[in-house]
């Protein structure tokens, strides 16, 4: 751990394997429908990535990541909805030019907070800034007063509950329980046909790798080490002169922004946004993905998200009764037996074997014989 580069060799291999898997293997083997499903799962991977920084490294368990996912998603959806509700498209409404659900709820003019979302630049800024600032406010209020651990988890959960009730209740402004549906174009470019889905998939994977690199950088910088130190012995870090609260706020904000980017990608790829991705249940499910993948592993979280969601889709298609038993059981098993998730299993059992295979191919000291592995055998 002496080098300060933000990826070391084995991590670089891991990232490349993931890149090949997402960019080459999946698009070649899956049809567009399944690829779009993967795109949907990967939007949760952004959240899981944020949780690795915030929960795995910082030790701050947030049960309200759905809030930020939702804020990002709704920002994007508002822009797309406005574009879909042009005067020509909505001329059968009593007030043309406003989104359909507003018309159904007897709202006759576009509300003030909707107006800036006519601009794509503003929307992109809002996707980052709105959840970021919201997380900053919550984080400052909580961490400056040294509220942490379970209390923080419960309060973030309450925030998720509040936002869901608010979105469902204010039907005229938010689309209510149905959410914002029927999103059509992005700057005139139709997002619904198959080729657009493929383009959006690759765009999303690109964003995901940018986020992975940011996470890697945070992890390997001094900042990441302070986060770990803080998780292990908070008082000692505080007595060393660091402002613990500021580091926690930073980790929480990063996680919030990642989640928001995921939410925006969700609105783009799936074509709608609804409060069922904001509340307590989805927020905890997002924590599940991270826990299954491994809360300490950036790449593990992504594999965990994909795996749990694949299992969810295929199990709930074939055995809808068993699915909740499976998910609940998986969760209990991960917590009891494998607290470090898939990445922990990989690191404890698989990695050492691969290392042994590789090292046995290196030149041996004299008199050292090992006939178990033939020379030139590929390691994988």
């Amino acid at each position: 751990m002496t080098d300060n580069r933000f990826v070391n060799r084995s991590e670089l291999i891991g990232i490349l394997v993931l890149a090949v898997f997402l960019v080459v293997v999946l698009p070649l083997t899956l049809d567009v429908f399944r690829l779009n499903l993967v795109a949907k799962y990967l939007t949760y991977a952004f959240v899981a990535l944020g949780l690795v920084i915030c929960w795995g490294y910082g030790g701050i368990l947030s049960l309200g990541q759905g809030v930020f996912f939702g804020l990002g998603g709704y920002c994007m959806a508002m822009f797309l909805k406005l574009e879909a509700s042009s005067v020509e498209n909505t001329k059968i409404q009593s007030t043309p030019g406003i989104p359909d659900f507003m018309d159904w709820n007897q709202i006759t003019a576009l509300p003030l907070f909707w107006k800036p979302f006519n601009s794509l630049t503003f929307t992109i800024a809002a996707i980052i800034l709105v959840p970021g600032i919201f997380a900053l406010i919550i984080g400052t209020a909580m961490f400056k007063r040294r509220v942490g651990g379970t209390y923080f988890a419960i309060i973030t959960q309450a925030v998720a509950a509040i936002l869901t009730i608010l979105i469902v209740g204010q039907q005229g402004y938010t689309g209510g329980i149905n959410g914002m549906t029927d999103l059509r174009t992005l700057k005139g470019w139709d997002i619904r046909p198959d080729h657009a889905k493929v383009v959006l998939y690759f765009f999303e994977v690109g964003c995901l790798f940018v986020c992975i690199m940011i996470a890697q950088f945070v992890r390997h910088s001094k900042l990441g080490r302070i986060l770990v130190a803080m998780r292990e012995k908070e008082d000692r870090v505080r007595f060393s002169g660091y402002s613990v609260a500021n580091f926690k706020i930073f980790a929480f904000c990063i996680a919030a922004v990642f989640a928001a980017i995921g939410g925006a990608m969700f609105a783009l790829n799936v074509g709608f946004m609804s409060p069922s991705f904001v509340g307590i249940v989805p927020s905890i499910e997002m924590v599940i993905y991270t826990a299954v993948g491994g809360r300490l592993s950036i790449l593990g979280a992504i594999y965990g998200t994909l795996l749990v969601n694949f299992a969810k889709t295929s199990l709930s298609e074939t055995f809808p009764e068993l699915w909740l038993f499976g998910l609940g059981g998986l969760f209990i098993a991960v917590v009891l037996a494998f607290p470090n998730g898939l990445a922990g299993i990989w690191g404890d059992y698989v990695q050492p074997r691969i290392d042994r295979l590789i090292s046995s191919r290196k030149p041996k000291p004299e008199g050292w014989t090992d006939g178990s592995v033939a020379d030139g055998a590929p390691a994988e």
């Binding site: 368990l61 209390y151 209740g169 599940i288």
Partner: protein
């Protein structure tokens, strides 16, 4: 929003909504009492608490059906038996869960949250498979229906008063058990220092198991009370879990008195606001107020001063 009502009307509204909130208050107090024991004392975040409550509600429903079918003459008294059965059923399940799951996790409080969430998913699916996905309602005996006329404009529902009295009774007994009995002293000793408590001869494993069982059992009784305000479905419990945690945190996690005070203020605020605006906005405002106050005063209303 108050402008359209005269002062006398407003008084009546507050009293009526206050009594209407009594059952909600009782459910909150009973749920929160169980949670205050499990979370406040043991430090376990029991996300399956709502499911233990719903188990109590289903037991009440089954008892009521049983009495209707086989003992119609005794139907008026079934509720008392139902509550005892609910307590026993939820308590027994709680002790089983503690033995299988929770006892491995006392050193990792945040992980209990995840594990019990998994448990709650499994319980929900179990209820769905056993009782069906449709919500069921319980028929109340005749004497619990109707209301008392206090004045011309004020009516008080009888079942609210009944549940209220019951809640007071249970709360007093819990407080007695926790603060006056030998067993309560053992519980508090284990909570403060598990190793030392074990060293002076307390069977910490047994204490843990019974404490968790007690908390879950009280949740079962809360389920009995819950059948009066809502219909019971596999996921009904989930709706209450956040509120209950907020009640406990708002009251100050280790304080029973604080739990009662905060359950009272939260349920009454919500019930009163519901008269003036939609139910969802009333809930949003109540929760926002609680979160806001918690940001200013994170230790809750009644905090015990404990050295850590």
């Amino acid at each position: 929003m108050f402008g359209d009502y005269s002062l006398g009307d407003l008084g009546s509204i507050f009293v009526m909504q206050g009594f209407a909130g009594l059952i909600l208050f009782s459910v909150y107090v009973l749920m929160a009492l169980g949670l205050a024991i499990i979370f406040g004392q043991m430090g376990v975040i029991n996300m399956a608490h709502g499911e233990f409550m719903i188990l109590g509600a289903y037991v009440t429903w089954m008892t009521s059906n049983f009495f209707q079918a086989y003992l119609p003459s005794l139907f008026s008294g079934y509720f008392f038996l139902a509550m005892i059965l609910a307590f026993v059923a939820s308590g027994a399940l709680g002790m089983l869960v503690e033995w299988v799951l929770i006892r491995h996790l006392y050193k990792r409080p945040l992980d209990t949250l995840l594990a019990t969430w998994g448990l709650s998913l499994m319980l929900q699916q179990a209820y769905r498979s056993v009782f069906g996905a449709r919500e069921v309602g319980v028929e109340l005996p005749q004497w619990m229906l109707g209301s008392l006329h206090v004045t011309d404009s004020i009516e008080v529902p009888i079942n609210g008063v009944f549940v209220m009295c019951l809640t007071v009774l249970i709360t007093i007994s819990v407080a007695y058990v926790m603060y006056k009995s030998r067993w309560g002293r053992q519980v508090r000793a284990v909570v403060q220092n598990r190793i030392m408590a074990g060293a002076v001869g307390i069977n910490t494993e047994k204490v843990d198991r019974y404490t968790y069982g007690l908390g879950c059992g009280i949740a079962g009784v809360a389920g009995s009370a819950f059948t009066m305000i809502g219909s019971t479905g596999p996921t009904s419990g989930q709706l209450y879990i956040v509120d209950t945690f907020l009640v406990v945190v708002f009251g100050g996690a280790a304080s029973l008195l604080g739990t009662i005070a905060s359950a009272f203020s939260i349920s009454q605020t919500q019930s009163t606001l519901e008269f003036f605006m939609s139910g969802s906005m009333a809930k949003v405002l109540t929760l926002l107020a609680v979160v806001g106050i918690l940001m200013l005063r994170p230790q809750g209303l009644f905090a015990l001063k404990v050295r850590k």
